[in-house]
């Protein structure tokens, strides 16, 4: 259904040769032929002129740095090279063998994958449940929920991180006070959530999921409203259970959107940086490092830009599979037609 639906959404762009300067009240039918030929040349050039600025900008900020990352990861670039002293030596695959042979790297990678998986599962699960729930609410309740979601969504990351840091503060945090009140155990007062990385990542997960759920809900809700009601009705009249209706009618329609949002979440949560960075007060301990932070600290704190680049490159390679999958989904839904 999706394919047919997307095709119908907009007229396919046709390469219509249209003339800019040659206008006038002359009847178009009469001299259409010679004009068309003359303008086809212009029409062929124009789109390239239009995309040129975009291509230049993207090349400057994405493509060139990416190439530079690849080059640097085969060199040994440190502080000396940054200030222009001396040549940057080529070291071949040394950076990669060093990193891949470092147990710390694998620890960081494992942590990143586990953290990402938990965040994505929670975000998508909670997001989908809320979106499904939104279909069944009274109008005013749905409005209240939407406003709450947008309020959460619109909070700058930096601000949200400050609030969560404050909520989890060991001395003056609300979480500790509430826990002490609820359990009657005064030990919670002064409890440091970040001493144990598992607890610390719990708070970080809370922040990440809280920040990501609104996007998922609003996108999934938009997708759910496109499910034809007649189909659901027909299915339930035919005796399908609620779950059956969902499984065989609703899910096939929303699946492409769900996969896209889930894939994006994987990429975003794999690269969580700001939340950890800010909750740890700009100096995350080694046990809080994910791949992004690890690459960052290698590059800027150990001033080994080449090691940092190599780690970044490995991260990009790890994610490229997900990226290709995402692209295939987009092509299937007709986005890149």
């Amino acid at each position: 259904m999706t394919a047919a639906d997307t095709k119908a959404a907009g007229p396919p762009p046709v390469p219509v040769p249209r003339g800019p300067e040659v206008t006038g009240p002359s009847s178009p039918a009469k001299d259409a032929k010679p004009r068309a030929r003359r303008q086809r040349k212009k029409g062929e050039l124009l789109p390239y002129l239009l995309i040129l600025p975009a291509i230049l900008a993207i090349a400057a900020v994405y493509v060139y740095p990416l190439i530079k990352t690849v080059i640097m990861s085969f060199q040994d670039m440190g502080r000396a090279a940054l200030w222009g002293n001396g040549e940057t030596p080529w070291v071949g695959f040394e950076q990669f063998t060093n990193i891949l042979g470092d147990p710390e790297f694998w620890q960081v990678t494992g942590r990143t994958v586990v953290f990402m998986t938990i965040c994505v599962v929670l975000t998508m699960g909670i997001g989908l449940l809320i979106a499904l729930m939104m279909l069944r609410l009274s109008t005013w309740v749905r409005l209240v929920l939407t406003v709450a979601l947008i309020a959460a969504w619109s909070m700058p990351l930096m601000v949200a991180a400050s609030v969560f840091r404050w909520l989890a503060d060991s001395d003056y945090g609300l979480i500790n006070t509430l826990l002490a009140d609820l359990t009657g155990n005064e030990d919670w007062l002064g409890h440091n959530w970040f001493l144990d990385p598992w607890q610390g990542f719990g708070i970080i997960t809370l922040l990440v999921v809280w920040g990501a759920v609104p996007f998922v809900v609003i996108t999934m809700y938009a997708a759910l409203t496109q499910v034809p009601k007649e189909l659901e009705e027909a299915a339930s009249l035919d005796g399908a259970s609620a779950f059956g209706v969902y499984r065989f009618v609703t899910w096939p329609v929303i699946k492409p959107v769900f996969t896209m949002v889930a894939t994006l979440s994987v990429i975003w949560d794999f690269n969580v940086f700001g939340q950890i960075w800010l909750l740890r007060g700009n100096k995350p301990e080694p046990e809080y490092e994910t791949l992004g932070l690890y690459s960052f600290s290698k590059a800027f704190e150990s001033t080994s830009f080449s090691q940092g680049s190599a780690i970044a490159l490995i991260t990009v390679l790890m994610l490229s599979g997900v990226a290709v999958y995402y692209l295939r989904q987009l092509i299937k839904t007709g986005e890149v037609e």
Binding site: P20, L50, I51, T146, I150, M158, E233, N282, A312, V336
Partner: protein
């Protein structure tokens, strides 16, 4: 249970479903309650932000936090506003975000027109590149961009940050504006040109007005992104007097601890424009997302 709830309320003639009505009413009440609890949980950090910014300092630095403040005060806001570099941080954020958005929208509109209106060699590849670059981790780009800007003298300069923000919102803006472009019938443009408009004239008088809502949505989205960005601002700007607002927030955390009251007040001030913008574009963004990114 859930699906029948909705279907039968919409169709009153539906006899088999009507039998379920009392059950459904109870269901809806249950859903409403769960939804209100969810809304409260989602909005709680926002509530805590605002309420903490208005709390007297002795309550902020209390070992016994309460959900409701005993009294309200603007002292925190006074301390936040008096903090060094507040004015320059606003200026920096405005300069960087607005310039990046204006530049980004011009480039994105041109590209969106090309992608939406013409079928040319490399069009698909361009869209794929646009989608793919969005997925590159910013930290992977950070190191080479930092080194390059350092070599070009772009550290501590606004233009370095502007270029980065401009390009990082470019792919999304292009795809979103394209969604609006393909919904404008080509015939409109053609008939304007038959009536004597030049191509530029047709764009200005016919296409641009129809594109305006899409442009507004995309530009506010880009503005919010640039306004909220932290990592690149933190790395590329070291000069205190050029900090953007998000980096400036760090000045409330010193070695002696964090002034949470003032930090919450400053955070509230920074969030207000973002919340307003989000409220404005929310509806349009849903249109843009569904017509541009979901439906195509």
């Amino acid at each position: 249970m859930s699906t029948s709830t909705r279907t039968s309320t919409s169709t009153a003639t539906d006899t088999p479903a009507q039998v379920l009505r009392p059950d459904r009413k109870r269901n809806r009440l249950g859903y409403n309650i769960v939804a209100l609890v969810t809304a409260a949980l989602m909005a709680f950090p926002v509530y805590w932000l605002i309420i903490s910014s208005l709390r007297p300092n002795h309550e902020i630095r209390s070992y016994d936090q309460t959900l409701w403040p005993s009294s309200l005060t603007f002292d925190n806001f006074a301390r936040a506003v008096e903090q060094d570099n507040f004015g320059t941080a606003i200026r920096s954020s405005l300069i960087v975000s607005v310039t990046a958005v204006v530049g980004g929208m011009i480039i994105a509109t041109l590209a969106a027109l090309a992608i939406g209106r013409f079928r040319f060699f490399g069009r698909k590849a361009l869209m794929m590149v646009m989608i793919l670059v969005q997925m590159l981790p910013p930290t992977a780009m950070l190191i080479p961009i930092y080194l390059q800007l350092n070599a070009m003298g772009g550290i501590d300069e606004y233009w370095g940050l502007i270029v980065v923000y401009l390009v990082s919102t470019l792919p999304f803006a292009t795809i979103m504006i394209r969604g609006f472009v393909i919904n404008i019938p080509v015939e409109l443009e053609e008939s304007a040109m038959v009536d004597g408009c030049t191509r530029m004239g047709a764009f200005r008088r016919v296409i641009f007005p129809l594109l305006a809502p899409g442009l507004a949505a995309a530009s506010i989205f880009a503005l919010v992104n640039a306004w909220n960005e932290y990592l690149f601002a933190y790395i590329l700007i070291n000069d205190n007097s050029k900090y953007t607002l998000n980096v400036w927030l760090m000045t409330f955390t010193t070695e002696r601890g964090t002034d949470y009251g003032a930090l919450m007040a400053a955070s509230t001030l920074i969030s207000i424009p973002v919340v307003i913008f989000f409220m404005i574009i929310q509806g349009k963004m849903a249109t843009g997302l569904t017509s541009g990114a979901v439906k195509g």
